[in-house]
Symmetry: C2
Subunit: 399 residues, 2 copies
């Protein structure tokens, strides 16, 4: 059997049997010197990325997927068949799926200061990276990075592949901000955008909420003004931050279901008799956060918080100005019970775009998992997504 025939059979098998994982490989791109939005310079910027499907000859079939706060570029597939779970949006990315890898070249890129700094499947440059000037971790000497900078690093990766235009940019939560920023900053290079559980800017409420995540890290004495190594990292503060991230990204029904499975009771005996003991549900959340913390970096979390806090479409002092640059049709998918980027954020964006007769549609993801519906519930929007990806944006029918 020729190797081509084996490949074809394998591909057929993968397509026919969706329980077989799409196997993907992490790639790395390096930018020797990179100027940030705030004017600072970064040297030797490491950027992880991965892709699903094949780039066509004229490089016109690329779709960019932008990841959320605690995520990475691992949007779909598995690195090995034995991986416990595929990438977070595997329900919609793959052969024959809503974002069809038989048709599209789907690519995703790790952000700067990606929170999963110690994951072998993430390549990123952030405060935990070694500062070439001092040969120690940057810590707080790392410059502030923005959503615009994430867009520009992604663009560098795409340019390295010869991709000059994107069929679509799609992202959830922090990824939605990147999608909108793409459309506003490089309108000629983006044909469609999808904002899932997203926002067009950070309002005062959301900026304060994000700050709540940062505060416990700075309180941890191990944090030491950002000067620590992986061995001396402020894991208690990071765990506390992740406990907050987890709760606000969920909604009552989810945590209450976990509570039932633990036989949670308000009047548990341990906490009734000893102030040092905790309720079963608190221990569950703590242990889950602690486990997640092991591959994450606390300073990276602080920098991602800041990137989100600084976000306004177009990175100016006016949302109107930022939105007015957008030419791509926009699909907004807020989650019904989202407590983090509440549906009003998407509705406001829809109103602002509709005001200027911009092509925009909004569909609400129903379900009781809060913000997380944008990840776990995305399968429900498969048809909406696939229809939107077929929107004609040719010059004869521009919008």
């Amino acid at each position: 059997m020729t190797s081509t025939r084996i490949t074809t059979l394998l591909l057929l098998a993968l397509t026919a049997l969706p329980s077989w994982a799409m196997i993907v490989e992490k790639q790395k791109h390096v930018i020797p010197s990179f100027t940030l939005f705030n004017g600072a310079e970064l040297k030797n910027v490491q950027i992880g990325w991965e892709a699903y499907g094949e780039l066509n000859e004229d490089k016109s079939n690329a779709i960019l997927i932008n990841h959320y706060f605690t995520g990475s570029s691992h949007a779909a597939g598995k690195y090995a068949e034995s991986d416990p779970a595929p990438g977070y949006w595997d329900a919609i990315i793959g052969p024959g799926k809503a974002i069809d890898t038989n048709r599209f070249f789907v690519i995703s890129v790790d952000t700067l200061a990606n929170i999963n700094a110690y994951s072998s499947n993430v390549h990123t440059t952030g405060p935990a990276s070694v500062n070439p000037t001092t040969q120690t971790p940057y810590g707080l000497d790392f410059p502030v990075v923005t959503i615009r900078d994430f867009v520009n690093t992604q663009r560098a990766v795409l340019q390295s592949l010869g991709i000059k235009k994107l069929h679509a940019v799609i992202g959830a939560s922090m990824g939605s901000m990147q999608a909108i920023e793409w459309a506003s900053t490089y309108p000629d290079e983006v044909e469609r955008i999808v904002s899932v559980i997203g926002t067009g800017y950070m309002d005062a409420w959301s900026t304060v909420e994000l700050e709540q995540w940062a505060i416990p890290i700075r309180l941890d004495k191990q944090w030491n003004q950002g000067n620590y190594t992986r061995e001396t990292a402020p894991l208690d503060g990071l765990t506390a931050a992740l406990m907050q991230v987890t709760q606000i990204a969920l909604a009552p029904a989810f945590i209450n279901q976990i509570g039932e499975s633990l036989d949670y009771q308000p009047l548990e005996s341990g906490p009734l008799h000893d102030i040092r003991q905790k309720h079963s549900i608190v221990n569950w959340l703590h242990d889950r956060a602690r486990q997640r913390a092991s591959l994450m970096d606390a300073n990276h979390l602080l920098y991602l918080v800041r990137a989100c806090q600084l976000f306004i479409t177009g990175h100016s002092d006016s949302l109107e100005k930022g939105l007015s640059n957008i030419t791509a049709p926009v699909l907004l998918l807020p989650a019904e019970q989202d407590l983090l980027l509440m549906p009003y954020m998407s509705e406001l964006l829809a109103d602002e775009l509709a005001k200027r007769n911009h092509p925009v549609s909004l569909h609400t993801i129903e379900g009781d998992q809060g913000h997380l519906e944008g990840v776990t519930g995305i399968g429900k929007m498969a048809k909406t997504l696939s229809t939107f990806l077929n929107t004609d944006v040719s010059p004869e029918n521009p919008k």
Copy 2:
């Protein structure tokens, strides 16, 4: 002019001119020895209280008001004309108001471990109190206290005044829990209860939310496992806790209005160029919380969190059992946009009570201030409250 005539004129003036404050005085009751719900003993328990209106001869006109988490027994009136603001529910408590002090003797009591431990207008016993055995602050040697214990200390105060039955018990938030607990534990002594922005028990979601407040205190190195004095108190941790309490007790509209007044922008220059700088809205919330922290105690906050986490009506393993003891009619007033004790908590309580044909009514407080509507928006419910307080509960018409 006789002193009676002067008093009459003054009373008339106070009634006619509601801008004149009702002047109140803090009282103190001491319980030499008190057995807690979990079996622990407390000595020399100090309890602050205050009252508005006059107790009638047969002591049948008393209404008990229970305060919320960060509150005290200062529900109405002023200690001096020069006070910047009256008690928190002054809109509904006073001569001619919904809870009419011309008719009712309205009394409120500071909880054990009241958070305002260093306020001269609060008398409480908690972890910041001196342990008579060691002559140093209790710290974490203070026993865990419960909502039931708050009820029992209130009952001791009432008994010291000869009051054996309450026309009504009314409370907001943590105060609502006390009202429901009263009705379940001492059904023969409570004729009506009102639960404002409340709940019949702590579900897993809310227990986790409360824990988020406790975590930054325990991270503050000054906390030192609860061993500190007022001079060495963990103010950073307490401030962080209060930042969370403040946000979750509000809703986006309120914080966004503050943001507008500060000219908040996502892309503020300080935070864009320096990770150590904060957005204007973050500084505002921090400064406000820091100021509030000055009269509060961090360990007291931990103990109040625990009291709330342990709450289930009747303090058993079954909400049904707790509710089945209640005979008093129940009025529930959830707030439309409450993010802390969300309306579903009151709705669940209404459903459970209605199932057993218990007289219960639910009216939603509308407004965009979240949980805080139960305090600042209470005036909107004046008519509902006053109608409810006139409900006939005589044996001929028991419900």
